[in-house]
Amino acid sequence: MQRKAINIFKNLDYISILLYLALVFMGWLNIYAAVYNDEYNSIIDISQKYGKQLMWIFITFGFIAAILLIDSKVYSLGSYFIYGLMMLVLVSVLFLGKEVNGARSWFQLGFIKFQPAEFAKFATCLAMAKFMSRFNFKMMTFKNLILLGIICFTPAALIILQNDTGSALVYTSFVLVFYRQGLPGIILGLMFIAVAIFILTLITSSLITLSIILLGGVLGYYIVNKNKKECFFSIIFISIIFSLTKLCFYLFDIDKSDYKILLYSALFFLPFALIYSFKKRIKYALISIVIISGAIGFNSSVHYIFENVLEKHQSQRIKIMLGIESDPYGKGYNVNQSKIAIGSGGLTGKGFLKGTQTKYDFVPEQSTDFIFCTIGEEWGFGGSFVVISIFLTLILRLIFLAERQRSRFSRIYGYGVASIFIFHLAINIGMTIGLAPVIGIPLPFFSYGGSSLLSFSILLFIFIKLDSNRLELFG
């Protein structure tokens, strides 16, 4: 026992811990700045946010100490148990939770409130790592994909039921882990294509997007097969059908948009292309045609998804992010004010506690989801650069640590941690500067709130503990 305790401190990765402490310290300073009041601090309630956060930091340190003292086997062996327990908590919060702002996602224990969705992250990460580290695990079998889906979507679904879609989206970041463990790169590529089509359709039009898809298909074909003649012929073929159909419709006075006509032409063309490529035994013929058809189908359903599947406030946030709709005093208020706050920081910022935009309550939720405004305003681009760099260093360090693990469990868990961090970083900062829709997820270690600080710390330190024991052979 004593020997182990010595080992613990010997093998800890102090680089990560220092980066972590730096972030926590800066985080607290910013919450202090966000709620600080230079004039009336004497008659302010003692229960100020920065005071509470400091208390949470100490509680977190206590938890960290406990995590480091517990035998690291516990995390591997108990992962399913921890996962199951957290799912139970997520279910019970649906019935017993306290409703805040329309989301039933909080538990109130005396004066402490906590949000189970935050803690579900590390539990899911553990369960996922445990499942994928099974002996002879193969990513691309049907059964494994289904089971993995169940592990990741159960918490996501329960969190959506709490009306907290933002926190549920975090689990999509695990796709990076799957990729590292053997998910074909093409799936990652297809996800990018889907997002690109979605955005392109919304900011341009279905017609332009469809044209780009078709030209992209032809271009892709050229790159693979280097046959100019066939590419040229395809374009001519579609153009002729398009012109003929348009002429017919014009003559018979049928009112169809150009998009529809191009769509019909493309659908008319595809079977010919398929037959032709089969006869000629062209490489990847079927898969490329399936992808192109899928892209066309997705393109035509974007508007439907946007209007009918997404909720109104969600689609509006996306519109504002893409700049299609400008509503600086309605739904776009937060983002507009947040951009003003960050933009007004300039290169060097206004200085600690000198921010006016965030001070005067112009930015709603400034101590939680929009905490980055305070950084941007008071520390300027320099401060933003430092904060983002520390985050990136920490995340890259985590990947480095993950890669040096002997145990697959530890490595996968490490990747899970890194994925969650990069997702939160990208989306949270992205939404304050109009790069991502406002989905309300916290910036790790910076956003005010005990649950978020504690859960991110637990997430990180379980990995640091696992890493410190990497030389022991097990699992």
């Binding site: 309605g330 933009g343 300039g346 112009f362 983002i388 500067i433 790069l435």
Partner: protein, 608 residues
């Protein structure tokens, strides 16, 4: 697994790319783009909401019922409160220093920088004094708001009231923000969209000392407020007030409808409350008091109370029997103090026997309708009473019973006419007999109808076979009222069958032995039908359904007086007085005594 190790580079590069993307965007916003620096150093924006005046409400003759009055909310921005003479300030507001500190602390907890209400609705005198000394009280200012003012202490249930929006309403409709007013009941609720107008917004640029530096983007994002539309009700306020006066110290309701249009002329639920007590601050206090009142003054009996209709239900029964051909106007039935089959007996009062249809209405014979209802249900062609009942229920539903009529006042109830399944369950067989449900023949038993629906039935009879959906709004300025209020709803009874029934109603009021004699009014041909509704909890209810004049009717109404014992005792005379008031404008001398008796009758305190 070594095969995928190279992917760590892809992932690493991806992470670095995300970082570069964020940083380059930040570099653009923070260093290159100037747009965001305009409002940087000293300038910030302040949004001022401009509330438009709420639409006015008039009665059908253009008399102003509801207007607006200005009130003054004392606002504070806690952070700006500086070096004020608290003693002087408290003196003006008539509060002590302790209260001052408590209130200020509460505002601070909400926000240091945003204005919050320090003291709502201060009176004009205080406002005038404050305004003079305002420069001495930095951080405070007065915001003008408008509240409702009711010109008459009347029609509270019709008009409804406005109050601050609650969280649920804000969530439901993004138009509203904290502190806005919204119609909560009555016309204020139904026509909220028209009455409220559109609130405006001015965005000013202010410096750190809150001095206005000009308009944000030259007012590009400002919105001009649009004044709320005025509304003209179908209510006749004189009739409404007179009805309320007659119904004072009684429980019950009055609904009067213009048959040809479906316009509601008066709608009383007694006891009621004074709408002026529901304005602004007073509301909380009086709402609590009224809610505890066991006579339920907040409950709109005219639309939300459901009662068995009593003998007025004999009218549709007669019409259905005629339409089904089971009786004609000459059909006579005997009655010797009631209707008796074996051990079953349904009592009736003493009158001559036998009676024909008209006289059965005039004298309200119970036995006649037991025979009639049995004939309807026991027709050969329907094989079983259960099937005949289905047909009967369709007729009844065509009068607008068992469903909401669609009136433009919220919280209407639909009432209840049992379907066959209800009886199947109650008698545990599908072979129940007409005798099982015989009490329906005289409007007793398991049927429930709202006074509004009863009045609507009166209008349908007055119209000889159709009604228009009752409604309370006649005109909306710059808008049209819902087209559904113009549509005709047919009752499934042929026009010719109304003649004998209406003659019976005429006889009930105008001929000797008629049960509604007390409604008789000189020179007006009133048609009416009394009802006495058995009440297991106390004295019976007094009911009267009437319309007048007989030809080309101008008004149809229901009077429902809880615990009024006989239909003829209170309901009939009140109906007569109301019809006279509406058609002639005043009450004839010969009726003054009756009027006095009705006004003074007290059915609430008597009981206690």
């Amino acid at each position: 697994m070594k095969q995928f190790e190279q992917r760590k580079f892809t992932i690493g590069i991806l992470i670095i790319l995300v970082g570069i993307l964020l940083l380059s965007r930040l570099f653009y916003i923070q260093v290159i783009e100037d747009k965001y620096k305009v409002s940087a150093e000293n300038n910030s924006q302040r949004i001022i909401t401009n509330y438009p005046a709420r639409g006015l409400i008039y009665d059908r003759n253009g008399k102003l019922l509801v207007s607006n009055q200005a009130t003054y909310d004392l606002m504070v921005i806690p952070r700006r409160v500086k070096n004020i003479d608290i003693k002087d300030f408290c003196k003006i507001l008539d509060i002590d220093t302790l209260t001052f500190n408590k209130k200020l602390k509460k505002c601070k907890r909400y926000s240091q920088y945003r204005p919050s209400i320090f003291m709502p609705q201060i009176n004009y005198e205080t406002y005038a004094i404050l305004q003079e000394k305002m420069h001495k009280f930095q951080g405070f200012f007065v915001q003008t708001r408008t509240l409702r003012k009711y010109q008459y202490n009347s029609a509270a249930h019709v008009l409804g009231y406005i109050a601050e929006v609650n969280n649920r309403e804000i969530k439901k409709n993004s138009y509203y923000t904290m502190g806005d007013y919204i119609g909560k009941s009555g016309v204020e609720y139904t026509y909220e969209k028209y009455l409220r107008g559109v609130k405006g917004r001015t965005i000013n640029l202010v410096d750190v000392h809150n001095r206005i530096k000009g308009k944000y983007k030259n007012g590009a994002y400002d919105i001009h407020p649009v004044i709320g539309s005025n509304i003209k009700l179908t209510i006749d306020i004189d009739l409404q007030m007179y009805a309320e006066k007659l119904m004072q110290n009684k429980r019950g309701s009055v609904v009067a409808i213009e048959p040809s249009t479906g316009e509601i002329l008066a709608k009383v639920s007694a006891p009621s409350y004074d709408p002026n007590l529901f304005v602004g601050n007073l509301r909380n206090k009086y709402y609590r008091i009224y809610r505890k009142d066991k006579n339920k003054p907040l409950f709109d009996r005219a639309m939300m109370a459901t009662y068995p209709p009593g003998s007025i239900f004999k009218l549709p029964q007669a019409l259905i029997a005629l339409e089904e051909g089971v009786i004609n106007e000459n059909t006579e039935f005997p009655c010797h103090g009631g209707y008796q089959v074996g051990n079953f007996r349904l009592k009736c009062h003493v009158h001559s026997s036998p009676l024909d249809l008209k006289h059965s209405i005039q004298q309200s014979c119970n036995a006649y309708y037991c025979y009639t209802f049995r004939r309807i249900l026991e027709q050969e062609k329907y094989k079983r009473p259960r099937e005949a009942y289905k047909v009967w229920r369709q007729y009844i539903k065509s009068f607008g019973f068992d469903s909401k009529l669609g009136v433009d006042i919220p919280y209407e109830r639909s009432g209840f006419i049992p379907n066959v399944k209800y009886w199947d369950k109650k008698y545990r067989t599908q072979r129940w007999k007409a005798l099982n449900i015989i009490s329906l023949s005289i409007g007793q038993g398991d049927i429930l109808i709202t006074p509004l629906q009863m009045a609507n039935m009166g209008a349908s009879i007055a119209n000889r076979g159709y009604y228009k959906t009752p409604h309370i709004v006649k005109e909306i300025s710059n808008n049209t009222i819902d087209s559904s209020y113009v549509n005709l709803h047919k009752v499934n009874i042929s026009k010719e069958y109304f003649k004998p029934v209406i003659e019976g109603m005429e006889m009930a009021v105008n001929k000797p032995k008629g049960t509604g004699r007390l409604a008789y009014t000189k020179d007006i041909d009133i048609c009416g039908k009394t009802g006495t509704v058995q009440n297991p909890h106390g004295a019976d209810h007094s009911v009267f359904l009437a319309f007048a004049p007989k030809d080309n009717p101008k008004i149809a109404l229901i009077i429902y007086v809880e615990n009024g014992v006989w239909g003829s005792r209170y309901a009939a005379p009140i109906a007569g007085l109301l019809i006279e008031k509406y058609l002639k404008g005043n009450i004839s001398k010969s009726k003054k005594g009756l009027e006095k008796r009705m006004v003074e009758a007290d059915l609430i305190t008597e009981k206690e």
